[in-house]
């Protein structure tokens, strides 16, 4: 388990997770990159904005 940097939800990280792997947070659905292991550190991966109002 590790906390999402965006929403603080717990994100489960499997034992076999590797550096730079992308995981999804169930709370905010952000994609998170594993930037360090033991202890696990997660960082927000860049997102694409949605825009319907142009």
């Amino acid at each position: 388990m590790s906390d999402c940097p965006q929403c603080t939800d717990e994100v489960s990280i499997s034992d076999s997770a590797r550096l730079n792997e992308i995981v999804e947070c169930a709370g905010c659905r952000n994609e998170l990159e594993i930037v360090a292991l033991s202890p696990t550190v997660l960082a927000l991966a860049p997102e694409i904005e949605e825009d319907w109002g142009e």
Binding site: D9, G27, C28, R29, E47, E50
Partner: protein, 339 residues
């Protein structure tokens, strides 16, 4: 099995109640009351109930034995007839506006008529399980809130200690919110494609939200293209020091164990925020928020099906709680996608 009567059974809320109650394993619908359709088959008015029931509508005078009565009449009729229904049943679940407010003056201001049963105003327990579950377990008089009031209340209550004293709420509703007897203004020719601001200020549901949340509420309501569905977008000012994480934590902790409220505030995906379209026929209220760190503004969003969590579904949830049954009995339909 309990015996249940539905008054106003030919209307939109009445029809949704019948759909849920006819399929409910612990309920026998003994009376579907309608004056206009007395003697006619229920599935003639609600064709989705073909082969689900052979029930016919009856006049109110024919109703004698029942355990619970649901009142789905226009407002005004419930308070006028309340003695009749409380006298013949163990439990009354009222879906009209008649017993939603506590204060006679506030009632008069919003409904522009005086209350004919003011002694009962404080006796009805608000039918919001998320706020009043313990009281609902023993409640024989329940008043189910308005559809937009449920959405607005659920999107504000968990964060009421984190925000300033004012909330500005913009609500959109589908046409079924106006009922089956809405008249000429609701003709397809007028309504289709319209975004009709039918209540720019002073909508009745603002008094309900203010009562439940404890903040001042101003509200705008707009009729949109959908048949079912309500969405509320609410602007509030967070107190100093409150950030996105605190808001998310408040929603998450409050609704973690709620069977019908889901936190939907995603940074990715197709439906990032609450969207009524995917909730049609389900009893969920989805609640979300967006926090603008730059301007310090907080926007909360809620969506539901006005006939379900905004009315009949919520009423059946209250019945389940009162009877000690699983809360989702008869209410487990998850909605359709795509729809």
């Amino acid at each position: 099995m309990i015996r249940v009567a539905v008054v106003g059974a030919a209307g939109f809320i009445g029809g949704e109640l019948l759909r849920l109650l006819v399929g409910h394993p612990e309920v026998e619908v003994t009376a579907a009351v309608s004056s206009r359709f007395a003697g006619k088959r229920v599935d003639g008015v609600h064709p989705n109930l073909r082969s689900a029931t052979d029930l016919t509508f009856c006049p109110a005078d024919d109703v004698d034995e029942y355990d619970t009565v649901f009142l789905a009449t226009p407002h005004g009729a419930a308070m006028a007839q309340i003695e009749r229904w409380t006298g013949h049943s163990k439990q009354v679940i009222d879906l009209t506006g008649d017993f939603r407010l506590e204060d006679t003056e506030v009632f008069q201001r919003y409904y522009r008529s005086s209350h004919v049963a003011p002694h009962l105003l404080g006796e009805f327990v608000p039918g919001i399980p998320e706020l009043h579950r313990e009281r609902l377990r023993g409640a024989d008089l329940v008043s189910v809130p308005g559809c937009m009031a449920v959405a607005g209340t659920l999107s504000l209550h968990p964060i009421r200690d984190l925000i300033g004293p004012e909330a500005h709420l913009d609500a959109r509703t589908g046409s079924s919110g106006s009922g089956a007897t809405a008249g000429e203004d609701n003709l397809h020719a007028f309504r289709s494609g319209a975004m009709r601001v039918f209540a720019p200020t002073g909508h009745r549901h603002e008094a309900e939200i203010a009562r439940h949340v404890g903040v001042r509420v101003t509200m705008t309501a707009t009729g949109v293209e959908a048949v079912r569905g309500v969405q509320t977008v609410c602007h509030v000012t967070p107190k100093p020091g409150v950030d996105e994480k605190a808001v998310r934590r408040a929603f998450r902790e409050r609704y973690r164990d709620e069977p019908f409220v889901r936190l939907v505030a995603q940074h990715r995906g197709r439906y990032r925020y609450p969207e009524p379209k995917i909730l049609s026929g389900s009893n969920f209220c989805d609640v979300g928020f967006a926090f603008d760190e730059d301007t310090g503004r907080l926007t909360t969003i809620a969506a539901l099906d006005n006939l379900m969590k905004g009315g009949a579904g919520n009423a059946v949830q209250c019945l389940n709680i009162r009877m000690g049954w699983p809360e989702n009995l008869g209410l487990s339909f998850p909605g359709l996608h795509p729809v």
